[in-house]
């Protein structure tokens, strides 16, 4: 799997990712990151803010200002997704992140189940963006050999411990298959 060179960070992703001891690996995967202003407003505690400060001072992270036309496209995505009962709810900040990722042709990093499911069911609405949750990004890190001393299950365990995030065992198995790291 090849990834775009840039990514868009959603709040629910960075809140957990910023607690992981190897969070800096994101800079080895993407040359630049973007975060909409509305998402930045959701981050106020010490660890995530410190991680964002590091990324901003490195010149890696750009805060993207709010534009009305992005909002209109985001509402349209929310309504499209709501027509399909298989898609859990998508909230406005995640929808805005998706639209920004689509405009930039970036990877969208999010934990929002609605966005992840919508991406699988109506990929044309996201193209050329691709959507990854932390589990898939960890699988990519493992498949690329960025943590050669750590197996995928060990990486998962480390991430869960550091971030208080938990993955579904079925999704871990499915993602390991997807990335050929079973």
């Amino acid at each position: 799997m090849s990834l775009p060179s840039t990514c868009v960070l959603d709040a629910c992703f960075i809140i957990d990712w910023s607690r992981w001891r190897r969070r800096h690996l994101i800079k080895e995967i993407f040359s630049a990151g973007f975060m909409p202003e509305i998402t930045l407003r959701e981050v106020i505690t010490e660890k995530p803010l410190r991680a964002l400060r590091e990324l901003i001072l490195d010149g890696w992270l750009t805060i993207y200002p709010h534009f009305r036309e992005l909002e209109e496209e985001a509402v349209s995505l929310i309504l499209d997704a709501r027509r399909d009962p298989r898609i859990p709810r998508i909230d406005p900040p995640e929808a805005l992140c998706s639209i920004l990722a689509r405009r930039l042709g970036s990877a969208l990093l999010t934990e929002n189940r609605g966005i992840i499911r919508a991406y699988w069911l109506m990929r044309e609405k996201f193209s050329p963006a691709i959507v990854l949750n932390s589990l898939r990004l960890l699988a990519y890190i493992c498949a690329r050999g960025l943590t050669p001393e750590t197996s995928f299950p060990e990486l998962i365990e480390e991430y869960e411990r550091d971030s208080n995030h938990s993955f579904s065992p079925s999704e871990v198995r499915a993602v390991a298959r997807e990335f050929g790291i079973e």
Partner: protein
């Protein structure tokens, strides 16, 4: 991934959140926060739960961690 597999994953995550939650802590929270936590346990949706609690997603995440609920 087939739709049934997604549903299984969502159910596994919901079950993990229910099982790991510190219900004594949750029962001691003010009503608004308790409602928000219960929405989170059922949906796993951080942003909407945070808005019900009147907080940012990050602030609400701290409550989630204290309540022992997995994200």
């Amino acid at each position: 991934m087939p739709s049934e597999e997604w549903e299984l994953i969502d159910e596994e995550l919901r079950e993990l959140r229910r099982r790991e939650a510190d219900w004594d802590y949750i029962r001691g929270l003010p009503p608004k926060l308790r409602e928000a936590i219960e929405v989170y346990i059922e949906t796993g949706d951080l942003w909407i739960s945070a808005k019900i609690a009147g907080m940012t997603a990050d602030e609400f995440n701290e409550i989630r961690i204290r309540a022992g609920i997995l994200h």
